[in-house]
Symmetry: C2
DNA sequence: AAAATTAAATTGCATTTTGCAAGTTAAAAT
DNA sequence: ATTTTAACTTGCAAAATGCAATTTAATTTT
């Protein structure tokens, strides 16, 4: 599967993490599950990032194999599935928060989400708690 | 340049960060600068990760353009260059630490660097301080 | 001072991954 | 029975990567 690269022999924890979630589309999917409350294939597609269906499918499968994402049928709509983060996936909240925090310092684009970013930076523990509780409102 | 993808219209801070440093080889280079004290092209090449010269060249250039890495001539060897992290690059320490921390929880490979990872997790502030002081001993 | 070595790339080319459009499968609504 | 919807899969062109060979510029060595 494409995301997976040759593993380093040396057990480096950075390389380990990168093999699991360290590519752009995987991170975008995790972000959408974590902060946007997305649950369906369709939602990911429609998020405006321009991910292709085959790549999305590939990444969801990869993340599922890696234990970051779980997939179940939607009990209310049998032609739909519900994707969600596992505990292992939610444990990536601190990584995401630090990325957001870094961007908050350096993102000078006119459309940067300054207010949101400041809230997250100044309230890391609460953000994490909210994500873990499934109470997403970012 | 290859690392750079279509930017999202929506100013998402996660996407912003990913465009700057969010690909495998960029992260590996940052790791080597941050935790291993690498400074030369040759050192990156010899690190055993199997990065190709063209890709390394591309990523160093990209990171330099992004202001993460700076490059100067080696005063003691005019055919060599010295690469180092900028302040902007060192500000990625928390991101790296959280990745390491996450991996520490989930990396079950026999060669995982458990001791090192635990030290880093339990001592985040000090790790950051050390990196900023250039006193790398990981 | 010519030849060899070293460091940091660049180039050419085969392989792999991505992006895009179209097609498929299975369930549900009309 | 036909159409619509959700989640894919497939085929193919374009882009990125990996690999080996070559280049450039500085430095030693002969």
């Amino acid at each position: 599967m494409s995301v997976q690269n040759k593993r380093s022999e040396y057990g480096c924890p950075v390389a380990f993490g990168l093999d699991v979630f360290g590519d752009k589309w995987s991170m975008i999917v995790i972000r959408d599950l974590m902060f946007r409350g997305f649950t369906t294939f369709k939602e990911f597609l429609g998020a405006g990032d321009g991910i292709a269906t085959n790549i999305l499918s590939n990444r969801l499968k990869h993340l599922e194999i890696q234990g970051i994402v779980k997939k179940k049928r939607d009990p209310e709509n049998a032609r739909s599935y519900i994707y969600s983060l596992t505990e292992k996936g939610r444990d990536l909240v601190p990584v995401m928060i630090e990325i957001v925090s870094w961007s908050g310092k350096y993102d000078d684009r006119p459309n940067a989400r300054r207010g949101l970013v400041e809230k997250i930076r100044n309230n890391r523990e609460n953000v994490e708690k909210k994500v873990r509780a499934g109470a997403i409102d970012f």
